[in-house]
Structure formats: C-alpha cells, structure tokens
Symmetry: C2
Subunit: 327 residues, 2 copies
C-alpha cells in the first residue's frame, strides 16, 4: 500500500504472494494456460480484499489509448444532446468505450487547453473552427456543416423542412411566414433555404420572414411583426420548437387561436413540443440515431478506416397546431 492510500497492482501481488506481472496477467483476463487456476483465484481475492482499482492514467500511458471518447456539445441546456449522448454511448459501450460530455460554448473560442487522455472526439452542432482546439485526436462532426473537412453525420433538415412545407401547402396555406433563427449556422441556413424554395415553387406561394434569437421572448416579437402585417401569413413555420412557443404567445397576444386562425409549426420535436397547448406539429430529428451513427463512424476512424459522411432523414409529426387556413 503506497503512501498515497490507493493500492497498486504491486500491493496486490505482495498480498497474494505472487509477482506484479502475474497480477496484471490475471486481472487482464489473458492468463489461460499461463497461470494456474488456484493462483488466479488468490490474486482475485487479494485484489478485492484490498479494493484494488487499476490506475487509469498508467494503463492509458502503457496502452496508448484510454477507451474514452469525448462528446463535445455547445450547451447542456437542451434535451437534444441527451438523446445524442444516449445513442453514442450505446454504440460505444458495445465496443468497450465510454463517453464523457464536454460542454463547450462556441463563444469561448477555440481555446480549451490541453485535453485529458482521449481517443477520439464527437463534436455536435459546432463549426469546424473548434477542431484546432483539440489535440489532434480523430474527430467526427455531428449536425454540422457537411462542407467541413472532418467526416460528418447530419440530419437532412432540408428534406424535413420540405415535408413541413408540403404539409402546410397541402392544407391550403399560400402565405407562409417564417420565424427564422437569427443564428448563422449551417442547419438554419439549410432550413430556411429549403422552405423558401418549396414555398416559392408552389403556385400562388408567398413568403415572409422575421428573424429572432433562439429564445421565447425574441420569437414572440418576431412573430408579432409578421402577424401585424395587414397582409398576414396564415401559417408560421418556425426554425425550432422554442421559436414556436414564442409564436404561440404572439398569436394569443393578438387574440388569434392556434390553429383555427393561424397555424404554427416547429422543428426538432423536443420535450417542449408536447408540453405546449395545442401540441405542436414539428419534425422529429432522430437525435439518438445521430449519436449512434456518429460513434460508429468515429470507431471506424479509430480503426484506421475512412468513414463516409451521411445524412439522416427526419420525420414529420403532425399534431394539433396545424389546420387549413381560415376562410
């Protein structure tokens, strides 16, 4: 027992009356034919008696890999990343890796300092600029600009937004208001582009747009700007479920009923979507699948492969916030 208080493999060896190598062999599991069953049992007993835990730093140094991958996210304050984590962790665990999460607000710049011993990185919803902040570990980007150099797994948000557009156009709406996220990220640019294309391609389709920071109050103001026009849209397509919550507030403030007077749609299908009243029509993005696919790609990368980037489709979920336009 070293002065540190934590027993080492050598302490176990002494306790069991064998050498450190034997302990390592036994506890490593690869001892069939090298160590007698009796000795092995003695080692195990000594280890549990002392409460031995291998020192991960030493193990990592020796093996050259830590079995840990980092999931970098811009914020924890979104259930979205919880689902991404779940998917990633499931795949990782099946391959003997564990996942820890590092929240890294992009505003912090590409600093971050030297990272702990990490085998690879999954970076979600970030721009490529952050890549420099890491110590050269293999990276797979999630939900990020597919033009980046790193392998990327994305949502096909353009297709999802097109589904939204088809849905509301199919209900008979012609004037579509877009409550757009005032954030210059690939995913929002892509959503807006798909929407405007679908709407202006439709016969008689018209389009107006207001920008808002991603927060309820800002979205409410933006939606008010759209709804106060004398020629007002009959549906508000929002870039995000949270923005849709703001649109609800704007409608209520003007005495308009959702969906009778104005329809509203969201995007992402977060927890919020079913908490709202009426429940929100939105696009469900398969966040867990994103994490799983991303982790699979990363593991392939760690194995020396060259994974292809890919896009996952979203599902249109029709709930109670959309209806045909008022007469």
């Amino acid at each position: 027992m070293t002065r540190n208080g934590r027993p080492t493999s050598r302490d176990v060896a002494q306790e069991a009356g064998v050498s450190q190598s034997t302990v390592s062999l036994v506890l490593g599991g690869k001892w069939t034919g090298r160590v007698s069953p009796g000795t092995a049992r003695a080692v195990h007993e000594a280890a549990t008696r002392l409460g031995y835990r291998p020192n991960e730093a030493a193990r990592t140094l020796r093996l050259g890999r830590s079995g840990t991958v980092l999931l970098v996210v811009p914020t924890l304050s979104s259930p979205f990343f919880g689902a991404v984590y779940t998917g990633a962790a499931r795949v990782a665990a099946a391959h003997g890796f564990r996942v820890v999460v590092y929240p890294w607000p992009e505003t912090e710049g590409p600093s971050g300092g030297p990272f702990e011993a990490i085998d690879g990185i999954l970076a979600s919803s970030m721009t490529a600029g952050v890549l420099g902040g890491f110590g050269g570990a293999p990276v797979v980007m999630l939900d990020s600009d597919p033009a980046d150099a790193a392998p990327t797994v994305d949502f096909d948000v353009a297709e999802g937004m097109t589904r939204i557009a088809e849905h509301v156009l199919g209900l008979g709406h012609r004037h579509v208001g877009h409550v757009a996220a005032a954030v210059d990220e690939w995913t929002f640019r892509s959503r807006g582009q798909a929407l405007i294309t679908a709407v202006t391609d439709a016969p008689g389709g018209r389009f107006s747009r207001a920008h808002a920071a991603i927060d309820v109050a800002a979205a409410r103001d933006a939606a008010l700007r759209l709804l106060r026009n004398r020629d007002r849209p009959t549906v508000l397509v929002c870039d995000d479920d949270l923005l849709a919550a703001g649109a609800y507030k704007a409608a209520r403030a003007l005495g308009l009923e959702v969906p009778a007077d104005v329809s509203v749609t969201g995007f992402d299908d977060v927890l919020l979507a079913t908490a709202l009243e009426p429940e929100l029509t939105t696009v469900r993005l398969p966040a867990a699948a994103l994490g799983a696919e991303g982790m699979a790609a990363l593991l392939e990368l760690l194995d020396g492969g060259a994974p292809r980037s890919r896009s996952l489709p979203g599902d249109l979920v029709v709930r109670d916030s959309t209806a045909p336009p008022p007469r």
Copy 2:
C-alpha cells in the same frame, strides 16, 4: 518523432538542441532563473514547430492528479444540469480544473466500470448508492439526501415549498391539490412534507394529493383526478414545472381557465416556465450556485479539508398562473 506520430517532449528537446528536462522546465513555466531566456525561446519555437502537445496520461501519472473532475448527472435531458455545470465549471476553471460530464441513469445500477483518471466527483441528484461505483475518488453530492455520508450541497426545497404555500394561502386558497412526483427521492419527499405541513397548519387548510410520473401526460391524468372531485382544490401545487404543464392541460380539458378558475404552481423554474401560457409561478432554484458551491466544497476536500454541507435557498417567482380563488 515516435512511430506513433505524436511528438514527445524528447522530440522537442532534440529539435531545440537541449535536454528533455529543459523542455519540461520551460513548458512547465517554472524556469525563471534556471534557464536562459534565449534557450527558453528556442524551446517554445521547437514546440510549436512540431505541434507538440503534452501527453496527458503521462502527466497525470507523474503528477498524481489529472486536473479533471467528473460531474455525474442522472440525465442530460434537463436544462437544470446545464446550469449546474456552468456554475461548477466557472469555479473549477478559476482553480485550474476542468469539468467533464458523465450522464449516469440510476437505473443502470452501481456499475460503471473503472473510471478514467479523475481527481474528484460531483454527483448531482443521485442517491448515495452510486458512490460505490466510483473508484474511491473524493465525492461531493449535490441536490441529494443530506443524510448521506458524503459532504452535500442542497437546495432548501422545504423552505421554497413553504413560500409557495404561503403565497397561495395568502391569495385566499384553502383547498390545495398537490400533484406529486411519483419518485422516491429526497427532494420530492421533502417538498411534499413541507407543503402538507404548511397547508394543514393554516386555519381551514385542506389538502389532497395525486401522484404522477414526471412526464406531461401522467401529470395531466393526476391533475384530472384532483379536479374531477366534486370538492375540487382551487389551486394545484406541482412538484415540478413539467408536472405543472400537465396540470395546465388538465384544466383546459375541463374547460377551466388558469388562473381564473384554478391556480397552478411549479417548482424549479426551468425553461418551460416562461414558455407556458400563462407564465408559471414557480420557485427558482439557483442551479448555477449549486454547482459553484459544490465545486468549491470539492476543491476544499481535495485540499484535505472537511467542507461542511449546506443548503441554498430558492426564490419564489410569482408570474401569471396564480390568482385568488374563484368566488
């Protein structure tokens, strides 16, 4: 340059024409008076030229600490933990530590396997049983049962719930319905206890209760059970903001207006509280302060101190979901 591809401090030494020790001294920053400024500059240049990054595993092994603490949370799907992280990370950074997050659903049991090199653990909203799953690293518990052996930083939820009770009693309510979380956690037991005490202590105070899993649909059903009684409560006090969202739905389903016909309160003040319509009266728990205080306690523990457990008060936030009872 080793075959691994990543340059070591020895490679830098060779490039700069000095010894490895000198590189370590210079890059460690503690070289004033030991190394000439010229040599130091040469080392820095060689390091950047080679793109040298110190091997964290080796550094950790040598120093006996990694500069990393783990924040263990039951789930990422709650903005609450985002705030806890922010507070904890700020304090940690000021002391040269970084924080990574490990989501650990309690359902997974106290397994978890050997952890990476970690100096300490901050475990939020968990029962003490999980402690065994970690390798004996110093632990501070957050938002957990203060009866646990480990140092604990908590919210004074009893006091917060008492404030809620005072508020609604002060508005004139006498019959209080409690939408209780059907979860056997310290914090919810404590909330329920405080509420029932305050209500039954008030002259004329009456109390009914329904339990619900923490999800909107279950909360709606529980609230319906309360509101369908012929002698129905005039206010629904919910253990949680999410439960309050369900209570809103129940009220609407019965054609009752919030707050005119029935008042509703939440607890936690998560994002949801302002997204709901009307905005929710709730108790704001200072999650960031919880993280910060917890990290301060952990750092004290790592320094050999014995931090005291403490409780942080919450703030009653009165919004639009509470009003005097109907005539």
